[in-house]
C-alpha cells in the first residue's frame, strides 16, 4: 500500500524528456510534476505522444532528459526497478496475466522472486496472501472476484485489476494509461470516485484518458499534449476553455 507520503510532497518530476522514433520526435522536452495526493491529467488527441511518455518514464522506451521519483533519479533503472521504487503504471490493453487469478496478479507485484524466493517455495512454509493484496482489491471493489481468472471478468473489471496491481506494494505515483477506455458512462463515473479515494491516501496519480468528462471531473491539474509537446496546462476549467485545446481536439476551425 502507498507509503504515506506527505500530501503536498513533490513525488514525480520529469525534466526535458524527449523520445525519438527514427527521425520523428514523439516526445519533445516534456517537463511535468505530480505531487502526493494529487490527480494530474494528461490529455491530447490520438497520436499526441501520451503513451510514449508513459513508456519512457517507466523505462520501456529510450529517452533523453531526467525522471526523478521522490528526489531520486530513475534514469539508469530498468522497468522492474522503477516499479519496485514506487513508479507504477497500467496499460491501455489491461495486460493482465491470463494464467493467474486476480489475487495472484497482484501477489506477483509484491512478492520477491529469484533464487531466494525459489528456496522459500521449496523449503519454507506456504506464505499467506499479503494483506496489501486484499486492501488493494477492496479499494477497487473486486475482493470477491479474487479467485477468478481475468478472462472471466468484464473489460471494466479487468481494467480495475490492472489498477489494483499497480497500487499494491510501495507505489508512490500511479500512471494510468487510458483506464476508462471501453468503460461505459456509469463505470467511468464510479472509477472517478475510486481515483479520488486513492489520491486521498497520499498517492500521486497521472491520469491519461480521452474521456474528457472523467478527466475534467476528477483532476486537480491538467496538462494538454499535441504533437509530442505540452501545449497547455492549468485547472480543468482553464484548460477546457483554452482555444488551443479545443482546436487540438476538434480541428482548426473553432466556432463558439
Amino acid at each position: 500500500m502507498p507509503a504515506e507520503p506527505d500530501s503536498k510532497q513533490r513525488l514525480l518530476a520529469t525534466a526535458g524528456v524527449s523520445v525519438h522514433y527514427g527521425g520523428v520526435r514523439a516526445n519533445d522536452e516534456i517537463t511535468l510534476a505530480v505531487d502526493g495526493g494529487e490527480i494530474v491529467g494528461l490529455i491530447g488527441p490520438n497520436g499526441a505522444g501520451k503513451t510514449t511518455f508513459v513508456d519512457a518514464i517507466t523505462g520501456f522506451t529510450r529517452y533523453t532528459g531526467t525522471v526523478e521519483l521522490g528526489g531520486t533519479s530513475l534514469d539508469d533503472a530498468g522497468p522492474h526497478r522503477r516499479r519496485r521504487a514506487g513508479l507504477a503504471r497500467t496499460w491501455q490493453a489491461g495486460e493482465l496475466f491470463g494464467d493467474l487469478t486476480v489475487a495472484e496478479n497482484l501477489i506477483v507485484a509484491v512478492e520477491g522472486g529469484g533464487v531466494r524466493g525459489a528456496l522459500t517455495d521449496v523449503f519454507g512454509r506456504r506464505r499467506r496472501t499479503d494483506q496489501a493484496v486484499w486492501n488493494a482489491l477492496e479499494l477497487v471493489g473486486l475482493a470477491e472476484l479474487a479467485e477468478h481468472r481475468p478472462d472471466q471478468l468484464t473489460l471494466g473489471q479487468q481494467k480495475l485489476v490492472g489498477v489494483a496491481r499497480a497500487i499494491v506494494g510501495a507505489t508512490q505515483v500511479l500512471l494510468l494509461d487510458e483506464p476508462a477506455a471501453g468503460l461505459d458512462t456509469e463505470e467511468s463515473v464510479a472509477f472517478g470516485g475510486e481515483l479520488r479515494r486513492l489520491a486521498a491516501s497520499g498517492l500521486g496519480v497521472l491520469l491519461i484518458d480521452h474521456d474528457m468528462t472523467l478527466v475534467l471531473d476528477v483532476c486537480d491539474r491538467v496538462y494538454v499534449m499535441d504533437f509530442g509537446r505540452i501545449i497547455a496546462t492549468g485547472t480543468p476549467a482553464e484548460v477546457s476553455a483554452d482555444e488551443r485545446v479545443v482546436a487540438a481536439y476538434l480541428g482548426s476551425a473553432v466556432t463558439t
Partner: protein, 757 residues
C-alpha cells in the same frame, strides 16, 4: 596455403547445402513466420528417392510403390523426380500441418516442425526397405551426378563438382532473392511478413503465396542435397536431419531476412569447417579440440549473430497469435501423492528384469520431462537442449566418481550443478530472443555440446565413460547385482529422488517462482511493469530446469554404469520435448505420461516386446506430435475453432458445461491435458452433430471427462458428423447468436473465450 584453398573448396559441397537450406529457411520464414526444422529431413526423402530410382527405377510413396522404369532410371529424370518428391512433401506440410497452425503459439509450430522432421526420418527408414525396393537398402548409394574431374590451382587439387555445387547454390539463392525482390508476388510475400492484415486488405492471400514458397524451397532443397549427396553423407538419415542446424545458424546470420547473406555465410561455414578439420590434423592443434570443432561452430555463429550483430530479428506481424496452453497450479495433497508413490513402489517390487528397468527409466524421464514442463510449459522458453544438460551431468558424474572419488549423494548433486551452470550459459541468448529463434539457439547449443563434449575422445574415452556405483554408508545402491540387471534398492533410490524433486517442483509451481514464471510467460512487459525481473527469472528457469535434467542424466548414468553419447543425442531430446507436449506441456501429469511413453520407457518396451513394433516407435511418436499439435492442440486448435465458428448458437447451459469440463479435468489432472481440449471439442461437436442424430453422448459434462482416448474418438466422430452436416455453409447462420463468434482477426482468442464460458 594451397592446402587451405583445397580444403576450403572441398567444404563448398556441404556449404552449398547449408546455403540452399538456409536460404529456403529464410524464404519460408518470410512467407509464413515459421522456422522449419524439417527442411533437412524433407531433402533426405529426395536423396533416397533418387538413389532408389537410379538403382532399379522404384518410385516409393508413403504408402505403396511402383516401378517407374524397368531397370535404373536415367540420371536427369531421377534427379528431377527426387527433387519433385521434396516439393510434394513441402506443399503437403504446408497445407496439412503449418497452414492450420499459422496462428498457433510458437511452441505448437516448433513441435509440429520437429514432428515433421521425425516423421520424414522415420518414414524414410521404414519405406525404403528391402521389401519395397526389391533390393537390400544397405547397398544403395547415391550415384555421382556431377562430373568427377579435378584440376590444379595454385598447387591445390580442386574438384570441379564442388565448384559446380557452389555455383548452383549461388544461382538458387540469386533466384530466390530476385523472386522476393522484383516480382509482384515476391514483394507481396515480403509485405506479408511485415503486416499480414494489410496484405489481405490489398486482396492478396498469404496462404497461396506461402504455398508457392514451400513448393519452390522444397524443390531446390531436394535438388541441392541430391546433387551433393555423394560428397556429403551418402544416405545416412540422421546426418541430413541435422544439416538443418548449421543451415538455421546461417539463416540467423542473415537475420532471417537476407537470402544473399545466408548464401555467402553458408558457403563460408562449409569451407571453414573443412579448414578446421584440416587444422585438427596438425601437431600444434590442441588435442582436446580435435573432435567436434566443426559441429560446435554453428552455436558460436548463432551467439555471435545474436549478440555481436546486435540488430533484432524481425518478427512476423500477424494478428492474434495464440497463447500457450493454460496452466492450473498443482495442489499437493498428501494422500493422493502417497498413494501414487505406493503404487509405483509396489509395481516396481512386483516386476523384474527389463520391465522393472523400463519403469525406472520412465521415472527418470519423468524427471527430465518435468524440466521441460518447468522451462517450456511454465516459463514459455522453448529449449531443445534438455538432453544436453542431462548428458553434461552424466559425463561430469563419470569424472567425479572415477577421477575425483566424490561419494554418492554429493557426486550426483555436483554433477547436476555442472549442468546448472551450463544451463545458465545456454539460457543467456534467451535474454535477447524468444520463441522459435530461441529453439534454434538451444538446438545449436545441444549439437555443440554433443559433438564437443560427449563425442570428444579426449574428454570421453572411446571405451565409454565409466561411473562408479553409488553406495551410502557402505550400503551398496548399485544397479546390478549378479545376474539381476536392476536391483530393488537402486529402483527405490531413483523413485525417492524423482518423487522428492517432483514435490519440490510442485511447490515451486505453487509459490512465488511459479507465479513469476507464469507472469513472464503470459506477458513480459507487463511482468516487468509489475516489478518482476524478467531476465533474472528466465535465467532462474534455465538453472532449475538444467538442474533437474542434470539429476536425471546422473541417474541415467548410474543406471547403466557407463555412459554413451547415444543416450543424450539431440534426437532423444527432441523426442522428450515431443512426448511432453503430447502428454501435456503444462502439467506434472503430462511429464509422467511423457516418462511412460518416452525413450526406453514402458510404452517403448510394450511396443517392442508385446507388439514387435519398436521400429515404428519414432513414427508413432512423430504422428502423436503432429496430431497433438495440429488436430488437438492444448490451446484449442483448428478442429475446435472450426466447430466454434460454425456453431449457430450454444445454449447457456451447454456453454457453462463446456467451461466446467475444462476446469474440472485440468484440476483433476486425471488423464492428460488432452482430455481438456478433446473434451471441449467433443462437447461442442455434440451440439453441432445434434441435428444429424449421431451425436455422441458428450452433451453432458460428466461424460466428457472420461478418458483422453474416448473423448478424442468422440470428438473425431462428431467432427466427421458435423463435417457432413455443416459443410461449407456460411457463418451467416450465426447472425443472432450473442455468445459464439470467431472474430477473423483473432479466431483462436474467440474460440478460447467461448470455451471458457
Amino acid at each position: 596455403m594451397s592446402d587451405i584453398l583445397q580444403f576450403a573448396v572441398l567444404g563448398f559441397s556441404t556449404g552449398a547445402v547449408y546455403a540452399v537450406l538456409g536460404s529456403s529457411l529464410v524464404s519460408i520464414y518470410v512467407a509464413t513466420g515459421i522456422i522449419n526444422f524439417a527442411q533437412g529431413s524433407l531433402a533426405l526423402w529426395g536423396v533416397w528417392q533418387t538413389a532408389a530410382l537410379q538403382a532399379n527405377g522404384t518410385l516409393v510413396l508413403p504408402i505403396g510403390s511402383f516401378k517407374l522404369t524397368d531397370g535404373p532410371t536415367d540420371t536427369v529424370p531421377a534427379l528431377l523426380i527426387g527433387a519433385a518428391s521434396c516439393l510434394v512433401w513441402a506443399v503437403l506440410a504446408h497445407f496439412l500441418v503449418f497452414r492450420p497452425l499459422r496462428r498457433a503459439p510458437v511452441l505448437g509450430q516448433v513441435v509440429a516442425s520437429v514432428g515433421m522432421m521425425l516423421l520424414l526420418q522415420a518414414l524414410v527408414t521404414l519405406r525404403f526397405d528391402a521389401d519395397t525396393l526389391g533390393l537390400d537398402p544397405t547397398v544403395l548409394i547415391p550415384m555421382p551426378i556431377l562430373p568427377s574431374d579435378t584440376f590444379t590451382l595454385a598447387g591445390a587439387t580442386i574438384a570441379v563438382s564442388n565448384l559446380i555445387l557452389a555455383g548452383i547454390a549461388i544461382a538458387i539463392a540469386a533466384g530466390m532473392w530476385a523472386y522476393l525482390r522484383f516480382t509482384k508476388m515476391g514483394t507481396a510475400t515480403r509485405a506479408g511478413a511485415e503486416d499480414e492484415r494489410a496484405l489481405r486488405l490489398l486482396g492478396y492471400s498469404p496462404d497461396r503465396l506461402a504455398a508457392l514458397v514451400w513448393g519452390a524451397t522444397g524443390f531446390v532443397s531436394g535438388l541441392i542435397v541430391v546433387l551433393a549427396a555423394p560428397a556429403i553423407g551418402g544416405l545416412d538419415p540422421t546426418s541430413y536431419m541435422f544439416y538443418v542446424v548449421p543451415a538455421l545458424s546461417v539463416a540467423l546470420v542473415g537475420r532471417l531476412t537476407s537470402v544473399g547473406t545466408v548464401c555467402a555465410a553458408g558457403l563460408a561455414l562449409g569451407a571453414l569447417q573443412q579448414i578446421l578439420l584440416f587444422g585438427t590434423t596438425k601437431d600444434w592443434w590442441p588435442s582436446w579440440a580435435q573432435a567436434g570443432v566443426g559441429d560446435a561452430i554453428p552455436f558460436v555463429i548463432v551467439v555471435v549473430a545474436l549478440f555481436a550483430l546486435g540488430r533484432s530479428i524481425p518478427e512476423r506481424g500477424s494478428a492474434g497469435v495464440g497463447r500457450l496452453p493454460r496452466v492450473s497450479v498443482p495442489r499437493l495433497r498428501p494422500l493422493p501423492v502417497a498413494g501414487a508413490v505406493a503404487v509405483a513402489g509396489l509395481v516396481i517390487a512386483l516386476t523384474s528384469g527389463t520391465w522393472r528397468f523400463s519403469l525406472v527409466m520412465s521415472a527418470i524421464f519423468t524427471l527430465i520431462a518435468v524440466s521441460v514442463v518447468l522451462l517450456t510449459g511454465y516459463l514459455g522458453q522453448i529449449s531443445l537442449a534438455t538432453m544436453a544438460f542431462a548428458g553434461a551431468a552424466g559425463f561430469a558424474l563419470s569424472k567425479l566418481t572415477t577421477n575425483a572419488g566424490v561419494p554418492f549423494p554429493f557426486s550426483l548433486f555436483l554433477a547436476a550443478v555442472v549442468s546448472t551452470l551450463l544451463g545458465v550459459i545456454v539460457g543467456v541468448p534467451a535474454l535477447r530472443i524468444r520463441g522459435a529463434q530461441l529453439a534454434v539457439a538451444t538446438v545449436a547449443a545441444a549439437l555443440a555440446i554433443e559433438a564437443f563434449v560427449f563425442n570428444n575422445p579426449s574428454l570421453t574415452p572411446y571405451s565409454g565413460a565409466l561411473i562408479k556405483d553409488p553406495s551410502l554408508f557402505g550400503y551398496s545402491l548399485a544397479v546390478r547385482e549378479g545376474t539381476n540387471i536392476i536391483t530393488l534398492r537402486f529402483s527405490y533410490l531413483v523413485l525417492a529422488v524423482v518423487v522428492l524433486l517432483l514435490i519440490a517442483v510442485a511447490r515451486l509451481f505453487g509459490g512465488a517462482t511459479g507465479r513469476a514464471f507464469l507472469a513472464v510467460r503470459s506477458n513480459e512487459r507487463a511482468a516487468s511493469s509489475a516489478g518482476v525481473d524478467v531476465a533474472a527469472t528466465k535465467l532462474l528457469g534455465f538453472a532449475i530446469a538444467s538442474f533437474l535434467a542434470g539429476i536425471g542424466g546422473g541417474l541415467i548414468g548410474y543406471s547403466s554404469g557407463q555412459l554413451s553419447a547415444a543416450s543424450f543425442t539431440v534426437l532423444v531430446g527432441l523426442t522428450v520435448l515431443a512426448m511432453t507436449y503430447v502428454g501435456g506441456i503444462t502439467t506434472i501429469t503430462g511429464a509422467v505420461i511423457a516418462g511412460l511413453a518416452g525413450p526406453l520407457g514402458v510404452l517403448y518396451l510394450f511396443l517392442n516386446q508385446s507388439l514387435d513394433l519398436s521400429k515404428y516407435y519414432t513414427l508413432i511418436a512423430a504422428l502423436g506430435m503432429l496430431l497433438r499439435a495440429v488436430v488437438f492442440p492444448p490451446d484449442g486448435g483448428p478442429v475446435q475453432e472450426w466447430l466454434a465458428a460454425r456453431l449457430p448458437r450454444r445454449t447457456p447451459a451447454l456453454a457453462t458445461g463446456a467451461g466446467s469440463v475444462t476446469a474440472g479435468s485440468v484440476t483433476a489432472g486425471s488423464v492428460t491435458a488432452g482430455s481438456v481440449t478433446a473434451g471441449t471439442a467433443a462437447t461442442s461437436a455434440g451440439t453441432a452433430a445434434a441435428s444429424t442424430a449421431t451425436a455422441p453422448s458428450a452433451g453432458t459434462t460428466d461424460g466428457v471427462a472420461a478418458s483422453a482416448a474416448s473423448a478424442a474418438s468422440a470428438a473425431s466422430a462428431a467432427s466427421a458428423a458435423s463435417a457432413a452436416s455443416g459443410g461449407p455453409a456460411d457463418s451467416e447462420s450465426s447472425a443472432d447468436s450473442d455468445s459464439v463468434t470467431a472474430a477473423d482477426a483473432a479466431p483462436s482468442i474467440a474460440a478460447r473465450s467461448a470455451d471458457a464460458r
